[in-house]
Symmetry: C2
Subunit: 412 residues, 2 copies
């Protein structure tokens, strides 16, 4: 009989709450359930042959530095390779402006640590990546949601909000945004609006945290310049990750921003985990420096484009007329809006029973959520499972409305 430690827990521990996505991982380990839930890359997208080459190189290095302890801000070789990559995105970067983290998620947590006192305002898009809430919530910010549409965040509304806050002499600590192939909506913020964001950041002196894990996962169209590349003053902090373009299992992400801030984050990271796993860092470095990533990306893009198209086609074929969805030009997700009388969170257990899961839109909102959305991941499931699972969801949506089931046979 274990002792009850709960009386010893901190007040903070009582604020801890599981994210909807992490909880879904339980189901997604069941191979019979078709998961549109997590943002898992397809195993087909992993560059296994490249990794074989890289591993062999790393085991041959003098003193195998990939296996040793390393400095907290990151492997100097990787930071150099990242600086080159950032330059190619129009972001001039020096090594001391970069910190390597255990996924971009860790960078979010470190921002909370460095920026937020209880009650401070953290601005997010509405909806937003839900990991920002699990990262920041123990720091007890007040979230301030800024609405979005099919062109991304609404800068006019943001400006009104910033003005109102300034009138009350309240300084928000930062704005967090995923401008490219947004998680959860798949929407890309337009260049025009990105420019507006940069102007507002400088005018209201508010850092923008630009989280850009999907930059290289574009299926069509030209890249839109990162917000950080438009910023001449240094208000934009830029985050990236190797989870979608190499593999999540190495857990390597990074942040770029003013050297003072990066130094503070490195100090914070020291106490948290000393340094980011050196093996994964050196794998990422080789993947970049040997030009393997550049060679591999077309394969990922082609694969995910096809999967997106299968999902879009099946939705068109099998979903009720009053459902809508985005058509992302890249990334891993699309965002469906269903009949306003359907609560997607209430629907989820029934869908799971039919063998399909997704993430209900609720968790992506600060404050009162819209209840009739779902985030659908198309990168992980196989083509037949996308067809089957989307068909099942279409049927579930019809049943929910008391509508008759589809009579035409489901696409195979």
């Amino acid at each position: 009989m274990a002792p009850n430690l709960e009386p010893l827990f901190s007040a903070r521990a009582r604020l801890l709450k599981a994210s909807d996505v992490r909880e879904l991982l339980k189901y997604s380990q069941d191979p019979t359930v078709i998961s549109f839930g997590g943002g898992l890359p397809s195993p087909e997208a992993f560059p296994v042959e490249d990794l074989r080459v890289i591993f062999e190189e790393l085991l041959h290095e003098d003193n195998t530095p990939a296996l040793q302890y390393g400095p907290t801000p990151g492997d100097p070789l990787l930071k150099n390779a990242l600086a080159t990559m950032l330059a190619s995105r129009g972001i001039p970067a020096k090594a001391d402006q970069i910190i390597v983290t255990h996924g971009a998620q860790q960078a979010l947590e470190l921002f909370g640590r460095v920026f937020l006192d209880p009650g401070d305002i953290a601005m997010v898009t509405q909806p937003t990546y839900l990991g920002i809430f699990t990262a920041l919530s123990i720091y007890q910010p007040t979230y301030h949601g800024v609405p979005t549409d099919n062109e991304g965040i609404l800068p006019d509304v943001l400006e009104e909000n910033l003005q109102a806050l300034a009138m009350d002499r309240i300084q928000p600590k930062f704005l967090y945004i995923v401008p490219t192939f947004h998680n959860p909506t798949g929407v890309t913020t337009s260049l025009r609006r990105r420019r507006a964001l940069v102007d507002l950041a400088a005018e209201y002196e508010i850092p923008i945290i630009e989280d850009d894990p999907y930059y290289d996962v574009r299926f069509e169209g030209d890249p839109v310049p990162p917000i950080a590349s438009l910023d001449k003053e240094g208000w934009v902090i830029y985050l990236g990750s190797f989870s979608k373009v190499l593999a999540p299992g190495f857990r390597v992400g990074f942040a770029h921003g003013p050297a003072d801030l990066m130094g503070k984050m490195a100090l914070a990271k020291q106490g948290v985990d000393l340094f980011t796993n050196g093996f994964g860092q050196r794998v990422a470095e080789r993947y970049l420096s040997l030009g393997l990533m550049k060679k591999h990306l077309p394969r990922i893009r082609k694969l995910y484009r096809r999967k997106r198209d299968v999902m879009l086609a099946t939705m068109k074929e099998t979903w009720p007329d009053n459902a809508e969805w985005t058509r992302p030009l890249g990334g891993l997700f699309l965002w469906a809006t269903v009949d306003p009388t359907i609560d997607t969170k209430a629907l989820l257990p029934r869908a799971a029973q039919k063998g399909v899961i997704y993430v209900a839109g609720h968790g992506f909102y600060a404050g009162q959520p819209e209840v009739n959305h779902m985030r659908l991941n198309f990168s992980f499931p196989s083509d037949p499972n996308i067809r089957k699972g989307i068909g099942i969801l279409g049927e579930a949506l019809r049943e929910e409305k008391g509508a008759p089931p589809l009579l035409v046979p489901m696409a195979k």
Copy 2:
């Protein structure tokens, strides 16, 4: 010109302070400096051939799960392998009582998060592993130091302290201890005192965090049972790491304790970094399950035993008479006590100039430090460098006292 973000920083950010050891890593990247500083394993101790076998296996697994996202508490296969390993140490463990972390350091940080409100008491040995301070300090505990001697922590003094706190109705949140080949002193807490700790934990209802990264790095004598193995009530939380027996670059540690506590820590970890890098976890799992660790450990032990002996012999030969040091039976460190008029922190820059670094004892104390200690790592430097570096330190200690330099030539 980057903007000044400092006015936006949290009050917490102002508490951040670099650990002495992490700062030393800067020097230790300079190959001309002989470092007795960090707790770096020798590159010779890395099981490179085993890793080649493991990597090839992991790249052949169906869907390469080592590269994919995984559940927050840890890879189920690794948790099973850890449960088996813990059982072999006399600790009956179930998978849901284990969480895998980015090094044991991350587990320390999660304890702070889950247990500590500002002003809460965290008990530590005096001296203690200094990473406990960088892990916990943002949670603003009051540290309470319990003295140690050559047999480890002093349970009688601990009991007096616990009694006094109980009289004041103050409940300390936990006692943190490295009982085996203690960092920094190298001392192993005796079985008798371990039993006394278990009794005190149950009597005063205080969790003990037993940090045991060096358990398998024993050069001589029989293993002393972990405190957790003596505990029938569940007050002892047990931490381990693969950094010293496999490689730090994979950044894999773990904690074992009551399922409720582990669940709370997993919730906390969700927001921090989602999960521990899956590649490193699966490497650790194979290293255990294929019996490779068991086969490899004798090589590590033999290597470090030799290095310890070289260090001890050179100290005996070259150090001033009034210096003393511990003779650890395992681990990575020994602890030197020099002339009480010498401040080892003041000596450090002069030693660095002569080409040798170590960690001054100061950082290992809660509150007022003793100033005439140094922690010396023997696992990383080569045998010739141990001889040379220890000789230089001996000379520096003599100079510090105005004593004449050694006239006999230094051992080669």
